[in-house]
């Protein structure tokens, strides 16, 4: 940036002449400065740590990390794009403003890329990502993509022929992170499980929602919505507005979004959205059959629901990395394009935060 421009120098000269009070923002009380900083996007926050020493020190204030997280979690999220194409795995991110214009996608450095060139993003929780080696499942890393702090986790495989499934979450009561990929609500991770029920000679298939409590490490069954008998491939669990939600895909292009407004109460499952003509036009033709990172994510479905924006629009991702914002009121769809967006990617909804595992933040929003 050209900062030694004439304009700036003139301004500085004027300042010298005026002899006006020089402190400006620094005259504010520390708790006010903290309040102001907590309202900034994570990239501004980190960039401003190079303004001077006192601004840099603010970054290490645990109160700032938790206040910042509680504010940011209410805004539009930050989207992280995971690319496994062409050769190396890469991460990109975009911060979404209210207007969603002029957004620029930027690359995130991956300090662990030498030990783990190809990875899976297991989940994002409280501003932290959990990543695993895509071939061997080990190593596993916890990574804050903005502060670039990362830590390798203990080995997860005990036996050679063992298959390990990962999830990642944080329990607000015990203040612990556990890796146990699925929806995290009320300190519990949620999966879909396939049930086989024998009725006479016929085998009946059904889907159940199973939870894993991060505090007592117990598995439990959670009541599922009354959305008809579906095979697992047509189901997706997600978290919308802090509630466990199930996306049921009927006939490939009709989506129902069910939200469990009161946790673990079967009657509170409510069909909130019905997305009818979920258009195939957004799908990339080469992704008729999913491959790469897409193989396991969608199964038969052509799209998945990522999150709900502040304005009530639903963010959906089509196979291969096509982002579409759906307005449930008008029934319209808009393809989202950002400058510098990679070609093929998979999106992770993330909250940009200063958080780190040593001093977990208390989030009241989830």
């Amino acid at each position: 940036m050209d900062l030694a421009s004439d304009k700036h120098i003139k301004k500085i000269k004027c300042k010298l002449d005026d002899d006006e009070p020089r402190n400006g923002m620094e005259s504010l009380q520390p708790d006010i400065a903290l309040d102001i900083f907590s309202r900034l996007p994570i990239t501004s926050l980190l960039q401003f740590s190079s303004v001077n020493r006192s601004w840099q020190m603010l970054q290490y204030d645990p109160n700032l990390a938790s206040l910042h997280f509680s504010r940011t979690a209410k805004n539009n999220p930050c989207l992280i794009f995971h690319c496994d194409y062409p050769i190396r795995n890469q991460l990109f991110f975009v911060e979404l403003s209210d207007e969603m214009d002029n957004e620029i996608v930027r690359r995130i450095q991956t300090p662990f890329c030498d030990t783990m060139p190809e990875f899976n993003v297991i989940a994002s929780c409280n501003g932290l990502l959990c990543l695993s080696d895509s071939l061997y499942s080990d190593p596993l890393y916890i990574y804050n993509p903005f502060t670039r702090k990362h830590r390798e986790l203990p080995k997860s495989r005990q036996f050679d022929d063992q298959e390990v499934v990962f999830g990642f979450g944080f329990h607000p009561v015990t203040n612990e992170y556990k890796r146990a990929s699925e929806a995290l609500v009320c300190g519990r991770l949620h999966w879909l499980a396939q049930l086989r029920i024998c009725r006479g000679t016929r085998i009946h298939r059904d889907v159940a929602i199973v939870s894993f409590d991060l505090a007592d490490e117990q598995f439990r069954e959670v009541p599922r919505p009354e959305c008809g008998n579906l095979i697992m491939a047509n189901y997706q669990l997600t978290v919308l507005g802090g509630c466990l939600s199930a996306v049921a895909c009927h006939l490939y292009d009709r989506y129902e979004i069910w939200v469990m407004e009161e946790y673990s109460v079967k009657e509170s499952w409510l069909k909130k959205y019905n997305i009818k003509d979920c258009i195939r036009q957004f799908m990339k033709p080469e992704f008729q059959r999913p491959y790469g990172i897409w193989k396991n994510v969608l199964n038969q479905r052509i799209a998945r629901v990522l999150c709900i924006f502040e304005n009530g629009n639903i963010l959906m991702e089509y196979r291969g990395g096509v982002l579409v914002s759906h307005n449930p009121n008008s029934g319209t769809y808009k393809k989202l394009m950002f400058e510098g967006m990679p070609d093929l990617f998979q999106t992770v909804v993330h909250v940009g935060s200063l958080n780190w595992i040593g001093k977990p933040i208390h989030s009241s929003t989830n």
Binding site: M1, L3, H8, I9, K11, I12, K15, L16, E20, P21, R22, N23, G24, M25, E26, S27, L28, Q29, D31, I32, D35, I36, F37, R39, L40, P41, T43, S44, L46, Q47, F48, S49, S50, V51, N52, R106, R107, I108, Q109
Partner: protein
Amino acid sequence: MSSSLEKNMLILRSSDGEEFIVPEVVAVMSKAIKNMVEDECASNTIPVPNVDANILAMVIEFCKKHDESEAEAASDLKTFDSEFVNRGQEALYDLITAANFRDVKELLDALCQNVAEMIKGKSVHHIRIQFLGYQLFEILTSNFIWNIWCDRDFD
């Protein structure tokens, strides 16, 4: 004077001695004043030290609007807030100090959000000059030192 004062009215005296007659409901939007009124340690005239008449008038204007418009549409109030906080830096910092000191939560919230909007997306140099009043000499030295230590830019 206080005898002629209507009921439920208070007099606020700024640091430079100017007096403002304000309805009590408006004055108690400042938690500090509310506490004084509740503890009954306030006479009809409440001194507001550290806040001059100019700033006090602005704070009262804000509180009055927020008191009146409780029933009004939230969007109207939002427009008023964004126009209200759109001021020069000096006035902003004085207002923040007053709002913080007098504990006027809504005002402090609107002001902090405004400063955050102002600095969001600005360059570090811009911040140093515009918001911290750095001099050229400081810019050069601090740049030199901080450029060595910091490599915060994203690719």
